[in-house]
């Protein structure tokens, strides 16, 4: 039983939400300032970047019920868009993000169009082919992409002079990157929140749970699916751009099929049907791919063939299975259950619902069912 009960929309509830929000924001803002190490700042920056990709994947998988094993390609598309515009055309970093969005929206819609005609599983085979195809395409056009050698930008993103972080300390530039990325990511979370709460978001849920009933309720199922796919790809594209802002170097191996699968692992671990789940998901993702990998590097199982990557693979597989079995709602579901033990938020009727009261003129002069 919860220790406190709060009514939804009441003053206490609003204070709680604002309080939690401000606390979270303060934490995120102060975080790089209290961490002394460049590597750690870079790690949390990566978490923020990947959370956007996972968020996008969640919109598609968790909210619209479509599976994609091809999101590595969209992350890569965003990343390459940014690096090409920055390195070859001297665009400022942040200005490339809208271009990434546009490119990935179109690419996502194109991949999603088969969804018009086909059911879930076929789409999964299409997306897995997309993921496998992307590195091949990158190598196909080396003049744009640098081919197998990868592509670099000579200059990192720099903050304007008025910005409060001193760029001449070792932690200065990564902190700048962190803040820029954090702002963009916050915007993406806001957008995702808006989508899920809107009419379109409800339509996505309806399509996920029962497509036929959705169609019967006037929802254009195919359009909704393509929209979800395109938007989801655009989120992945933004994540790609952010990753390039964090580290201005890309190569084909950075965006392979494994990235797609790890994004799914992270999504399931975090909680696929919740916006906030992308954050624990991204933490799982980065912890698996950096910390665990580093730790496993030092292990020496099976005589002299230590490879962090393998341990990570096995662990991720096991983790994924464990989550699907034990906590299908992901970490975020667990956290919510915990929160409910402390504070229970009781839903309230919507405001002003009486205005829309559906009532007829009362008629008592007529028997209800005419007896036969």
């Amino acid at each position: 039983m919860a220790a406190f009960t709060i009514s939804e929309g009441s003053g206490a509830h609003r204070r709680l939400r604002w309080g939690a929000g401000l606390l979270g924001a303060a934490f995120l803002i102060v975080l790089p300032l209290v961490i002394p190490s460049v590597a750690q700042i870079e790690t949390i920056t990566q978490i923020v970047c990947y959370s956007v990709a996972i968020l996008g994947l969640g919109l598609l998988v968790g909210h619209c019920g479509q599976i994609s094993i091809g999101h590595s390609a969209f992350v890569g598309l965003g990343g390459y868009t940014t690096i090409i515009l920055v390195a070859d055309h001297n665009w400022p970093y942040l200005a490339t993000i809208p271009v990434s969005v546009l490119v990935c929206l179109v690419a996502g819609a194109l991949v999603g169009i088969p969804a018009l005609r086909i059911r879930g599983l076929y789409l999964a085979t299409v997306t897995i082919a997309v993921a496998a195809l992307f590195p091949v395409l990158v190598n196909k056009f080396p003049s744009f992409t640098g081919g197998p050698n990868g592509k670099f930008a000579n200059e990192e993103m720099t903050a304007p002079d008025w910005f409060f972080v001193n760029p001449y300390t070792p932690t200065g530039p990564p902190t700048d990157h962190y803040y820029a990325i954090l702002v963009v990511a916050a915007l993406m979370f806001l957008i995702a929140h808006n989508i899920v709460r809107s009419r379109v978001g409800r339509a996505m849920h309806a399509v996920r749970d029962a497509p036929l009933s959705a169609a019967a309720s006037g929802i254009p199922v195919a359009k909704v699916k393509i929209f979800a796919f395109a938007v989801s790809a655009a989120f992945a594209g933004v994540a790609g751009s952010l990753l390039v802002i964090q580290l201005p170097a890309v190569s084909d191996t950075r965006f392979d099929l494994y990235l797609s699968i790890f994004l799914l692992v992270a999504l399931i671990a975090g909680g696929s049907a919740s916006i906030a789940g992308a954050i624990p998901g991204a933490i799982v993702f980065v912890v698996l791919r950096t910390y665990i990998a580093d730790w496993a590097e030092g292990l020496d199982l099976l005589g002299g063939r230590p490879d962090g990557g393998q341990i990570v693979g096995i662990l991720s597989g096991a983790l994924l299975i464990a989550f699907v079995f034990l906590l299908p709602g992901g970490v975020i579901d667990g956290l919510k259950a915990l929160r409910r033990r402390i504070v229970e938020i009781v839903p309230r009727p919507p405001r002003d619902w009486e205005r829309y009261r559906f009532a007829g003129r009362s008629r008592t002069d007529q028997p209800a069912v005419r007896e036969s």
Binding site: S198, R199, A216, G218, W353, G360
Partner: protein, 254 residues
């Protein structure tokens, strides 16, 4: 009063089996029209054809001035047609309130682009939420508004489905076995509700139903089908003693 829905020569085939074989009837504005017939007569198929879930091989379906066969299932809600399903077609993972809110989708104006922005979506969301809640209140089930559909009793779910159909404020309401699975008291109450919808909210109702007493009690016009064809049609008083109808139900001349 004019014909709101007009169906002519409807033919539906599943594989090699003809489920509807030239069914015709029309529903006048403001009527409660019942489609009856033994199981397998093609009533639900006719419904699914009207709501564009199955594709007829032949025939015409006109709603007001629209040719429904030229439209998609998703377009109907916008024209003012809503329906319920025999076996319920709700979304188990969503709350009752959200289920009802989806019913209003076609009347919403926030498009894909606007949904990104928040403000317009939120204004609309607030209104739809209130309307949906009011609808639940009308059916006396506002207390379960925030619960997931999964696990609620059948009678409640039937009301949720009715609320979802009504929240779109349709001109024509299609009800597939609204009384199916309800206890006697609930059936009576449902009859009152449906007549109120016709009388007070200017709705036209087309329903498929087995419960004879219910049908005869509330309908203005009854169309009986048998084996995919029109059997008889008329007002309840005319039909009550129709030998064709008795035979169709009993499978034997009486």
């Amino acid at each position: 009063m004019s014909d709101l829905l007009r169906i002519e020569g409807l033919v539906v085939q599943f594989g090699g089996v003809t489920a509807l074989d030239g069914v015709s009837f029309s529903v006048r504005e403001g009527q409660i029209c019942a489609l009856i017939g033994p199981n397998g007569a093609g009533k639900t198929t006719a419904f699914n054809a009207i709501s564009r879930l199955v594709r007829p091989a032949d025939g015409q379906i006109r709603f007001a001035e629209h040719d429904l066969l030229g439209l998609e299932a998703a377009d109907l809600s916008g024209l003012g047609i809503a329906r319920t399903f025999q076996n319920l077609a709700l979304w188990p993972g969503m709350t009752v309130l959200e289920n009802v809110m989806v019913g209003r989708y076609a009347r919403g104006r926030v498009g894909f682009a606007a949904s990104l922005l928040g403000r317009p979506a939120r204004v609309e969301d607030r209104e739809v939420r209130a309307r949906a809640y009011a609808m639940l209140d009308y059916f006396g089930i506002a207390d379960v508004a925030h619960r997931d559909c999964e696990g609620l009793p059948f009678g409640t779910l039937k009301r949720v489905e009715l609320a979802r159909a009504l929240v779109a404020q349709p001109r024509l309401l299609l009800l597939d076995e609204p009384a199916g699975g309800l206890a006697h008291g609930d059936v009576r109450e449902l009859g009152e509700t449906l007549m109120k919808l016709r009388d007070d909210h200017d709705m036209t109702l087309l329903l498929v139903e087995h419960h004879m007493q219910f049908v005869m009690g509330i309908s203005d016009y009854v169309v009986a089908l048998d084996l995919g064809r029109n059997l008889v049609a008329g007002n309840p008083a005319e039909l009550r003693d129709s030998p064709e109808l008795v035979e169709a139900y009993l499978g034997a001349p009486v």
